[in-house]
Amino acid sequence: MNNKELITSIATKLNAPKSVAAILLETTVATCAQLLMEDKTIGFQSFGNFEVRKKDERLSVHPSTQIRTLIPPKLVVNFKQSNILKDKLKDMPHHE
């Protein structure tokens, strides 16, 4: 499901035009990004938490050349699913 399909899905459920859904989605995403940049955790009830985590600097050694490289620290977005979502997914059979 890509962005377009998601908007369509939301729009049909809301009984609202797609443009409104698109704007709302965009706003939500922008708000979330803004909050995350301010180093805040966002919790969506029954869905999960978005959190910014700092990955510390580390030494990496190239396996073949043995060149040691210092990887600088970085900030990454982490998503942790809520237990409610987890339970919902539990019953899902394994495809393949």
Partner: protein, 487 residues
């Protein structure tokens, strides 16, 4: 964690105010959005949200585990887990505080440190001193290279010092025996001989030998002038003959000269071959002159014993001549170096010279479309004394001169999260050039890592040669400055 947690309610409020919709509508939208995402995920699809990220399902394989208390083996069923892969735009947004950091190869650090040591601040007197030392070194090596050539030639010409020395011994006899008119006639022949021999040699060597022989002649003439001897010319010629005769034939080793300490010393020293060579010719010249002045056969008979006993006098004479030759050589090379310098000066095009000169006088960076690489001529102390400006690379000059910032292309106010590196990336295409922004705003920034919020930063106008991303030297220079300012 001291992180502030934002609940769904707060998000709803924020979205409502931003999108200027009612809170209820926003709430409903959010619920529907989450429901839709869940729906998509439950359908086994991944859900992509533009400029935010992708939600995916990840299958975790069933695995065995042990109950810690009962030591009972339990099987954990396989399950799906929602993973979120942030979009590139979101990643960049979040990682902005650390965006200026780059992986550093640690094993190359030592060499980097060396570089920093070598080329330190512009005002470092040690560096200037080093440059001068290198110049002097070059000059000395040049002189050595030049003086070695003729020496080698002469060595070739005479297979043994002994041969020459043998010749030397014979000169007095020769001189006295021959009459002036005869010697003159023969001298001409010998001259020709020598000339043909010289022609045989390689061109460059020929030049140097010719010069050296001329020079020798000059010296000899000088010595002779004092005496005001009518034989001046002939003497000069006899010396020439001395040079040429060993080429013609090798003579057996003369026992007299093996005992001569000077000879042994001479044969060991290769580098000063030339000087010694001249020196060796000189004594013989002087000797012959003395003998000719004596101009009487009884003396001649005494000559051999006289020589043996007056080794000391010889040494003194030789020393005196070495000094004479040394000064002569110095004058000769000084003039030749002058010539060379004028040639080099011609090589460096006038525009380049004017560029460097003006750069030197007014250190303000001069914008030119391309970095002009000027061929760095070999500097000598003589040249440096004449012209105060060293014609070095114009880019190097830009690096070395203290930069003066008079023109600015923009100004920006520091906000939370603002970085000089980010500004540099924006204006100069590379974050490494933040050092120049820092330099231009040094008066306002005490610590480049902690700039007070609200500080007005002026972005200087920089010489395009200075911030050429494709020029590794520019990057290197920026990194050097970086190390200076950060540490």
């Amino acid at each position: 964690m001291n992180k502030e947690k934002i609940s769904s309610q707060e998000i709803i409020d924020l979205v409502a105010s931003k999108a200027s919709v009612s809170k209820r509508a926003a709430e409903e939208f959010l619920k529907v959005m989450i429901a839709s995402i869940e729906e998509g995920l439950l359908a086994g699809e991944s859900v992509k949200i533009k400029s935010f990220g992708t939600f995916k399902l990840q299958w975790n394989e069933p695995r065995k585990s042990v109950n810690i208390q009962t030591r009972e083996e339990i099987l954990i069923n396989g399950y799906y887990k929602v993973v979120f892969v942030p979009d590139v735009t979101l990643k960049e947004q979040i990682n902005e505080p650390f965006a200026h950091l780059e992986p550093v190869e640690l094993d190359t650090d030592p060499t980097k440190n060396e570089l920093i040591e070598e080329t330190d601040p512009i005002t470092d007197p040690r560096r200037l001193f080093n440059e001068q030392a290198v110049e002097i070194k070059n000059l000395i090596s040049e002189i050595q290279a030049l003086s070695r050539k003729p020496a080698a030639v002469i060595q070739e010409d005479m297979p043994d010092h002994v041969a020459l020395n043998d010749e030397i011994k014979q000169i007095p006899v020769y001189n006295v025996e021959e009459e002036e008119s005869e010697s003159e006639a023969e001298n001409e022949n010998l001259k020709k001989n020598q000339e043909t021999i010289i022609e045989d040699k390689e061109k460059d060597i020929e030049l140097s030998t010719a010069k050296s022989s001329e020079y020798q002649e000059a010296i000899i003439e000088k010595v002779n002038i004092e005496k005001a001897d009518p034989k001046v010319e002939s003497l000069g010629e006899t010396i020439r003959e001395d040079e040429s005769t060993p080429i013609k034939d090798d003579k057996p080793v003369n026992p007299d000269f093996i005992t001569n300490p000077n000879y042994i010393a001479n044969s060991t020293d290769l580098n000063e071959e030339k000087v010694i060579e001249i020196k060796e010719i000189k004594p013989e010249d002087k000797d012959s002159q003395l003998i000719s002045e004596l101009a009487s056969t009884p003396y001649l008979e005494n000559l051999k014993p006289l020589k043996r006993h007056k080794v000391r006098n010889w040494v003194l004479l030789i020393l005196f001549l070495i000094i004479g030759c040394g000064t002569g050589l110095y004058i000769y090379y000084a003039s030749s170096v002058d010539n060379a310098m004028t040639k080099i000066a011609q090589h460096v095009s006038i525009t380049d010279m004017s560029n460097t000169v003006s750069d030197w006088i007014s250190p303000a960076p001069k914008p030119t479309p391309k970095p002009i690489k000027v061929v760095i001529p070999k500097d000598t102390t003589e040249y440096a004394a004449k012209v105060p400006v060293q014609p070095v690379d114009s880019v190097q000059l830009l690096f070395d001169n203290p930069r003066v910032y008079t023109e600015f292309i923009a100004s920006e106010r520091i906000q939370a999260g603002s970085r000089l590196t980010i500004m540099s990336k924006r204006y100069f295409k590379s974050k490494d050039f933040w050092v120049y922004i820092y330099e231009a705003n040094k008066d306002k920034i005490s610590n480049p890592d902690e700039i007070a919020i609200g500080t007005l930063i002026r972005i200087p106008k920089l010489d395009p040669r200075l911030i050429d991303i494709n020029n590794p030297r520019c990057m290197l220079k920026a990194k050097e400055l970086h190390d200076i300012y950060v540490n």
